[in-house]
């Protein structure tokens, strides 16, 4: 299981949980599992999210590995100027 930290405003969409545990070995599996476990998160996931794995931020990298001991933080989709 991978522990995924949600940002504050997503917690209400995940039954108030700050950290959600899902079975996943990569970015894509993690998002799919999150959406399946907490369907209210799906609109945000569909709009786009980033994933910080052990401090590095990934955007749309489905095959990025996540391990049970990884620090995984869901973040809004990054954009810049």
């Amino acid at each position: 299981m991978v522990a995924v930290k949600l940002w504050g405003s997503l917690r209400d969409l995940a039954e108030g949980q700050e950290v959600v545990e899902v079975e996943a070995s990569n970015f894509k599996e993690l998002l799919d599992a999150l959406a399946a476990k907490h369907p209210a998160l799906k609109p945000q996931i569909d709009r786009g999210v980033s994933l910080a794995v052990d401090g590095l931020v990934y955007r749309n990298s489905w095959f990025t590995e996540v391990r049970p001991d990884s620090e995984v933080v869901l973040m809004p989709y990054m954009k810049g100027g």
Binding site: K5, W7, G8, S9, L10, L13, A40, P43, Q44, R47, S50, A52, D54, G55, L56, V57, Y58, R59, N60, S61, T64, E71, V73, M75, P76, Y77, M78, K79, G80, G81
Partner: protein, 747 residues
């Protein structure tokens, strides 16, 4: 030899200050910008814009305009379908209004005519029946329950029940127990701030030429930060397949985030399709201000607690941003960045986005971060004043470091904030004496940086030179940096490499030039492409020598036998291998395609000295120094240029720049005479100190540098002005009348 994972620390080309490849073209006028492009038979395109801040469009009658001799086409939103994708629909509706005009300057219709005179006359013949509607341009007003409704039902699922009808997005970040944190504080300060919307202020207006053939294939030439994004948006709006639209970027005269979307390009394509001729549209400066995206404006509350010895115990920020008439998520970035510079046990940021009757927000360097960090850094400075603490020591005491859990949730890896602060503390600027009516301010700044989709092709030419083809418009010196990294990797001189920026038909997808990503991501792909070419060259040498490929290494621009074969053959240089490439297997090239990850975050610290005239309220910036972690400065001139440019834009944001609307919601200062950006005579020579804390995610340690420098100036200037005049301002810009009013109010 492992060609894909080796990392390099000793540099011969990287880190030097080679000649700029675009310098001569730009100073002689040879460089071709968006408006310089022309094709035979090109028609003039002009756009009719709304005179109302908010109105229903009851009818558009284009018959008289179409009947005017010389008019080839008129288009409205009816010429397009309605995209299912909400984001694309918003972009399209911003290009040509559908049903309602949402802000002063919103495009309503467009004409293509044989010349400018005819096009202008035709615009006057388009009859639009409007029913004016109530409008709102202020973010706090827009968030009220009874505010005029800009667009119905645009809130996403994050918006709490009971929010006003214009609130489209809500976010929250943080960790720890705020109440417990504030209870530990000896002093707690809570303040409210506002910042104005500011424009990116690029000197080159948007311009494009569209040519839509009667076979359904089209070409578009335009000034943009991302030709692939332009292609994708335009193809979506026009109902085309991406392969049938080729977009070629021009030289770009500034973008700063403002050219990361489309405004006129789909309109030109629609006109060209209808007219059966090429169409050129060049925006006026007035239209650029009225109808392209400035940054968000904000209203913010910040509360921070601190102990007597300068330890921050808790921090809280509420950020209210407006990004114009369409939903935007910029507040997410601000809410994550607000406290990023601090190692905090208890921190919480909340953000709301509200619709207003203003132009659709576009990105502007570090979108969302400057205003949030301005508010936080102002309160930190006021706490330092109240507690009589050195503001740099307080930053050092609380600085985020490797292992810090950032306020937005991640644990930082190797970051350069502490080194940057220490460099500032040791710098002579921080210890220089100040005179009467003078003040010194400082601020930290932060930006995330990212990588993204990148495609690079590198060709080894038969004459021993190399050509790099990449797909990101050069807005800050990337052609030089890319050539330098290619030269470094290949082991040949910089002047043997030239980098070209190509059209959408020539390479795979490239994300927009934004997010401080190009030197990092395109550089990474270039290094990998060069290593792929080197692998081919080593293989060719191995065949010639009759030895195993693995027994050949690449050193100093030449293939050399190694291991048991070392010394058996004379090294073959790149030029020697290239010269016989035809005989040894054909052209030699390398390419690399990647969704680059591993961009390291960037921190900066700015010091500003100002003098305020107590009789006029005018601020003079006396001295300014930027300290920033660049990971590895590939071309230090360009890195310094980014640091200086960001500082200059931030100084303008702090002191003068603002969108001013009248009671009718019409923009009052749509020109550089009334919208005051700093010019050279307004600024001192901006000093720079580059720190190099390598980013482990890049072979050379590169971090993006383009966005962080615009973040600290807002607070650095505000803190300096507040210390100079003895009264703290909570509003940007700090234009002379506002400063004078604050001085007079304190008596």
């Amino acid at each position: 030899m492992n060609f894909q994972s080796s990392s390099k620390q000793d540099f011969k080309v990287v880190g030097t200050r080679v000649a700029r490849p675009d310098g001569v073209d730009k100073v002689t006028g040879r460089a071709l910008y968006g408006a310089d492009f022309n094709v035979p038979g090109c028609q003039v395109g002009l756009i009719l814009r709304s005179p109302h801040a908010h109105a229903r469009i009851d009818n558009i009658d284009t018959s008289e305009a179409l009947a005017l001799p010389g008019v080839k086409a008129v288009v409205t939103s009816a010429d397009w379908g309605v995209p299912e994708d909400e984001g694309l629909r918003d972009v399209q509706d911003n290009c040509l209004a559908r049903g309602k005009v949402l802000y002063d300057g919103h495009a309503v219709a467009a004409v293509a005519a044989k010349d400018m005179v005819t096009a202008r006359a035709a615009l006057k013949l388009i009859r639009v029946d409007y029913t004016p509607l109530p409008h709102v341009t202020d973010v706090d007003e827009a968030m009220k329950p009874d505010a005029p409704v800009v667009q119905e039902a645009r809130a996403d699922e994050s918006v709490p029940e009971g929010s006003g009808p214009n609130v489209t997005h809500y976010c929250e970040f943080g960790h720890g127990d705020l109440d417990a944190g504030f209870a530990k504080a000896d002093t707690v300060i809570e303040r409210s701030f506002t910042t104005a919307a500011t424009h990116q202020g690029y000197i080159e207006p948007h311009a494009c030429v569209a040519s839509y053939g009667n076979d359904g294939k089209a070409d578009l030439w335009c000034t943009t930060q991302g030709q692939y994004l332009v292609r994708d948006l335009c193809a979506g709006i026009m109902g085309m397949e991406g392969s049938q639209l080729r977009v070629t970027p021009s030289e770009i005269g500034g973008g700063f985030g403002g050219k990361t979307t489309v405004f006129i390009e789909p309109v030109a394509l629609a006109l060209s399709r209808k007219a059966g001729r090429p169409v050129k549209i060049v925006m006026s400066r007035v239209d650029v201000f009225r109808a392209t995206g400035p940054t968000v404006s904000s209203s913010m509350d910040v509360r921070i607690g601190m102990t007597k010895d300068g330890r921050i115990t808790a921090g809280e920020a509420k950020l209210r941003y407006q990004g114009g008439a369409f939903p935007c998520g910029t507040v997410d970035m601000g809410a994550q960045a607000a406290f990023a510079a601090y190692d905090m046990e208890a921190v919480r940021t909340r953000g709301w986005n509200a619709l207003t009757n203003r132009p659709k927000e576009a990105a502007y360097r570090a979108p969302g971060a400057p205003m949030a960090i301005y508010a936080v850094e102002s309160v930190v400075d006021e706490l330092c004043q109240q507690l009589e603490l050195d503001p740099l020591d307080v930053r050092l005491k609380n600085a985020a470091d490797a292992g810090t859990k950032a306020s937005y949730g991640v644990t930082f890896d190797q970051i350069g904030l502490r080194a940057t602060l220490e460099a500032a503390k040791e710098h002579a600027h921080y210890h220089a004496p100040l005179g009467e009516n003078q003040g010194r301010g400082l601020s930290c700044g932060f930006w995330f940086n990212f990588g993204g989709n990148t495609s690079v092709s590198l060709a080894i030419n038969a004459d021993g030179t190399a050509s790099v083809t990449e797909g990101n418009p050069d807005i800050g010196g990337s052609r030089a940096s890319i050539s330098m990294m290619a030269a470094e990797e290949l082991g040949i001189p910089y002047d043997k490499v030239r980098t070209f920026i190509t059209d959408t038909g020539s390479l795979g997808q490239n994300d927009v030039t934004d997010g401080s990503r190009v030197t990092f991501a395109v550089g990474l792909a270039t290094i990998k492409a060069a290593r792929a070419a080197i692998q081919v060259m080593c293989a060719r040498a191995a065949k010639i020598w009759g030895i195993d490929e693995d027994a050949v290494i690449w050193e100093d621009g030449a293939a050399k036998p190694s291991g048991p074969n070392a010394g058996d053959f004379e090294p073959m240089t790149l030029a020697e291998i290239a010269a016989i490439s035809s005989e040894t297997g054909g052209p030699i090239a390398g390419h690399h395609e990647v969704n680059a990850e591993g961009a390291g975050v960037s921190f900066g610290v700015h010091l500003a000295d100002v003098e305020v005239d107590p009789e006029t309220g005018a601020t003079t910036v006396l001295r300014y120094t930027v300290f920033q972690d660049a990971g590895k400065a590939v071309h230090p001139d360009y890195v310094e240029g980014q640091m200086q440019g960001g500082a200059a834009q931030g100084i303008g944001w702090a002191l003068n720049e603002e969108y001013i609307y009248d009671e009718d919601g019409r923009l009052q200062n749509a020109g550089f005479l009334d919208y005051r950006i700093p010019v050279a005579s307004d600024l001192p020579a901006i000093d720079t100190v580059i720190l190099e804390i390598p980013n482990p995610g890049h072979p050379y340690g590169v971090r993006g540098v383009g966005e962080t420098p615009i973040v600290p100036p807002l607070a650095a200037l505000s803190n300096a002005v507040s210390r100079a005049v003895g009264v703290r301002l909570h509003e940007l810009p700090m234009s002379p009348p506002k400063i004078l009013k604050a001085i007079m109010a304190q008596g």
